[in-house]
Amino acid sequence: MAVCGYAQNTSLRGTIEIDGSSTVYPISEAAASGFNKSYSNVKVNVGVSGTGGGFKRFTKGETDISDASRPIKDSEFAACKEAGVSFYELPVAYDGLTLVLHKDNDWVDYLTIDEIKKIFTTQGNAKTWSEVRAGWPEREIKIFAPGTDSGTFDYFKEVVIGKSETSLRADMSTSEDDNVLVTGVSGSPSAIGFFGVAYYEENKDKLKSVAIVNPSTGAKVSPTATTIEDGSYAPFSRPLFIYVNAKSFQRAEVRQFVAYYLQNAPKMAQATGYVALPATIYREGMMRCRAQAKGAGTHYLTESMEKRGGAVTEVYKSENLVK
């Protein structure tokens, strides 16, 4: 089979357009760079428009692959259907959404979901740490969060708020640039913020992560490769996806690229600060692609367009596939 040989092939031609999440971008960039070493005449352009922005172009058929740090939404799925765009949904890595504190913050040892709600929602609206838990100092909480167009923000909102009436506070400092968040939190001892685990790994000397109480087991779990992979870092461990336009997938260069992506995803995920998914998930992904039209669709929406949640190993099964 061809993919075993990584000898350079110059005869394959074509252009692949990718756009979407800034969280997935490093993995796609690594894939594009590695792929070009084997197929030097295929152009791979990777854009960064955020998950929502990427889907906007993907549903119009402007891009071949969309990077996403959350599953597709019902509205986006409907737009795809309307435009006649069908797609393969392929999880490529785990990300542990990490809550971070200033290095000198010595009072927060762990947080429960209820406490996180107190800090981040308009309903909780805690102004000082003493309002979050009795005994914590009466210091003002400064919040740094990713921008509202990012999948990270959406995912956090989904986990913390779910279907309840409240919403995330509007008085947070938000930025699309995660380095701004790192600088913000590391510059103020009473600050809290959140972003993907990759940024925490690179800034361990400036920040510290918060252990989260797993709502089902009650254990306090810190985000590490092990806890993210085995799912005990719940509910903030999340899968990252690429969505491949099924029509583009008929093109040889896209097929080769997606195959390269799936085969090298575990290695690339680790190199970029993320966590590899279980091998069975990548194999499932391969099967979706191989099944052609039968493998297209999403696993994260039910027939009635309700959101389906849970661990990726539970959700990413062929019986959950909705076209």
């Binding site: 796609s28 005449n41 854009g47 995660d178």
Partner: protein
């Protein structure tokens, strides 16, 4: 006579000249403190100017300190890679050169032409006068519009062209010149999602030319002649069609020319250097035109200033000798105003090089490994590449970003140096 001199006058004369000088100075300073105030003002001015120079020096120093160690040939000639030590900015540098060159080629004639119209061909009746002053007012106002607004304007006007020529869907535009379409077939061996005993054959791809992008997919038949890229050459080859689940040829060479019967080819296109399409899409041309909007008012205004500074005696003289308005403009006014026009234009161009916001809206942050090949090709520019690097978590990328800033600064400073040199040379010539 000497007796008649008033006593106080004599006293003054008897005074020591140095003392007199002192008193005069005291009167100047002491009476209302004017000179003292002047001294303070001067110190304040030096201080304020000093602050900005110190800040600039500090910024430059810190960038050079951070950036120079990462400057390397790889940075200038390499492609952007996820590994910081291999990362380069060549596609971004090439993109900047493309965008700015095309921007200059479009903007300079329009800008200078407009300035000549307004300055040299004064309106002759009231209606024309109204129109001219409306244009003038518009240009002055447009110079102050934030560049991000031009970016949004460019997105509708150039990228999608108000949707007049169909959507950007799938890159299939309604009007194209210079594109050749092919159906790309894979041989049995090269499909990563099929493995059917074709492992020992090498991977090959064949191209079948398609007349029009809307044609149905080519159906491969045995003996059909297709092209294969060998190196950069297109070589004709004869392919054969087999049922992937039936008997396959055993000879590896023959097997490598085999295409599965149900293969659906992928449509790709090859674009020549003169490729052109409507709407423009997110390519180089749309970016250049958007930058044109940003710097056009600047160029018009500076050209107007330059034309205005040409003494009217020159024009009158030429006209007196019977020159037509065209001759006056071409032979007298433009050459005399050229140093000023050039300086203004080059400074405007250096603004275009550093401009990020409109390009960010038009092109977005894109990871691109190739320099643009044609006017509609996707691209990235140096400021965006720097922005991309600074938003990475790894510290090493921040150092590379600093090195990118040094490259950008060198380009900008050399542009400004060219402006200064040209100005001096041409001024000497005119004299």
């Amino acid at each position: 006579m000497s007796e008649a001199t008033p006593p106080d006058d004599r006293m003054e004369l008897q005074e020591d000249p140095g003392q007199q000088d002192q008193r005069q100075q005291r009167r100047l300073r002491g009476s209302d403190g004017r000179m003292l105030l002047d001294q303070y003002f001067r110190v304040a001015c030096i201080g304020i100017a000093g602050i900005s120079v110190v800040i600039l020096a500090f910024l430059l120093g810190s960038i050079i300190y951070q950036g120079v160690p990462s400057l390397s040939w790889t940075l200038l000639s390499g492609t952007p890679e996820p590994e910081p030590s291999e990362a380069g900015a060549w596609p971004a540098i090439a993109g900047t050169i493309w965008v700015c060159t095309i921007c200059a080629l479009i903007t300079l004639p329009i800008g200078i032409g407009t300035a000549v119209l307004i300055e040299e061909f004064k309106p002759r009746n009231r209606l024309a006068n109204r129109i001219f002053s409306a244009i003038q007012l518009n240009i002055s106002n447009l110079a102050g519009v934030p560049s991000v607004v031009y970016g949004i304007l460019g997105l509708t006007a150039f990228v999608s062209m108000f949707g007049l020529f169909g959507s950007l869907k799938g890159g299939e535009s309604s009007l194209e010149i210079g594109a050749v379409y092919y159906d790309q077939f894979t041989n049995l061996a090269s499909d990563p999602f099929l493995s059917m005993g074709a492992e020992n054959a090498r991977e090959r791809y064949f191209l079948a030319p398609v007349a029009s992008p809307s044609d149905p997919p080519t159906v491969a038949t045995s003996g059909m002649e297709m092209f294969e890229y060998q190196g950069d050459q297109k070589v004709p080859v004869k392919i054969s069609v087999f049922d992937p689940f039936g008997d396959l040829p055993s000879d590896p060479e023959e097997l490598s020319l085999a295409i599965a019967a149900d293969t659906i080819p992928g449509r790709i296109s090859e674009k020549s250097w003169y490729y052109f399409s409507l709407p423009f899409g997110r390519g180089v041309l749309a970016g250049s035109l958007t930058l044109m909007l940003v710097i056009l008012p600047v160029i018009i205004i500076s050209s107007q200033e330059a034309l205005r500074s040409v003494p009217s005696s020159l024009r009158d003289g030429a006209r007196g000798l019977g020159a037509t308005p065209w001759q006056v403009v071409w032979n007298i006014t433009l050459p005399a105003a050229a140093p000023g026009i050039l300086t203004g234009s080059i400074l405007a161009m250096s603004r275009a090089i550093g401009e990020t916001a409109p390009i960010l809206i038009i092109a977005g942050i894109v990871y691109i490994r190739n320099a643009p090949q044609h006017l509609m090709d996707s691209y990235t520019v140096l400021p965006l590449q720097i922005y991309n690097w600074t938003s990475r978590p790894q510290e090493e990328f921040h150092a590379i970003a600093a090195a990118g800033i040094v490259v950008l600064l060198v380009i900008l400073l050399s542009f400004n140096a060219i402006a200064v040199i040209l100005r001096q040379r041409m001024q000497n010539k005119v004299r």
